[in-house]
Symmetry: C2
Subunit: 148 residues, 2 copies
Amino acid sequence: MQTSPSVETRPFRELCADHGLTATHQRQVLYEIMQRMPGHPSPEEVYARVKKRIPAISLATVYKNIHLFVEKGVLKEVSMHHGSLRVELNSHLHHHMVCSRCKAITDIEEKDLGVLPTPGRLLGGFQVERYAIDVIGICAACQKAKHS
Amino acid sequence: MQTSPSVETRPFRELCADHGLTATHQRQVLYEIMQRMPGHPSPEEVYARVKKRIPAISLATVYKNIHLFVEKGVLKEVSMHHGSLRVELNSHLHHHMVCSRCKAITDIEEKDLGVLPTPGRLLGGFQVERYAIDVIGICAACQKAKHS
DNA sequence: ATAGCTGCAAATCGTTTGCGCCATG
DNA sequence: CATGGCGCAAACGATTTGCAGCTAT
């Protein structure tokens, strides 16, 4: 791997330092490419792009670093992924609090949220069915048990 | 399988009729058990419970019927599942519109939402980091292409 | 130096599918 | 009795893991 820290390495190194990450070549490329990717790419899509610049890179490395970036707050995931599909009866209107550490889900009433959704509108041709609000944070249990 | 429609079969049959579903024994048990399951169970958890009443039931059947129930509006999924992990840069504040048919994701500015979350509060010991709002509905493309 | 990162390949996990038989309408 | 649902087992796609060698600090 060429060790040529020529082109604008500073900002990325700072970002890594700020987030407590080792600044590796693959992480830099990953980050730069994500900056230039609009939308909401999947790991496979990111991998395909990164592979053009680092042909030897592994998909596993992409996954590992995406998770790391998410964990450190550089990236965020679009909708919460609990390990598997989670369902509930389609009964009364409520939303969810999701612990970003342990993924625990708790119901929350809409009135306790301080929000006033207005469904049924058309947003640029999009027919709204409902709002799903995830309040993301750290649950009480994880706060007690936190170290890092 | 015992064909004993003794205990309170009527309400469930109506629910199936209303949603255009065939009323099978496994669907009835599945539904009754979900009614008594609080929280946000995974297919595996539902399967474990249903298996106590119908030991011969298959996990595949549980999956098929959960999807059917979701499709027909009897159940709903807790957070949107796109086929794979989706990430984005953690930059400016925005939310997403998600098509429940094709899973397409579009950004939406918070000001265009008509909702006003009030983050930063502690909700029962839960340390709020952020709100993630998914506006769920049918995108313009899918509306044109819809039949069923 | 040395802790951490990488690539590889195999393993794992959640979920889906094809198919022959059976239940429901 | 005809359609659709069921259970089974195999297939599948997405993601993770163990490990041996290499890299950043």
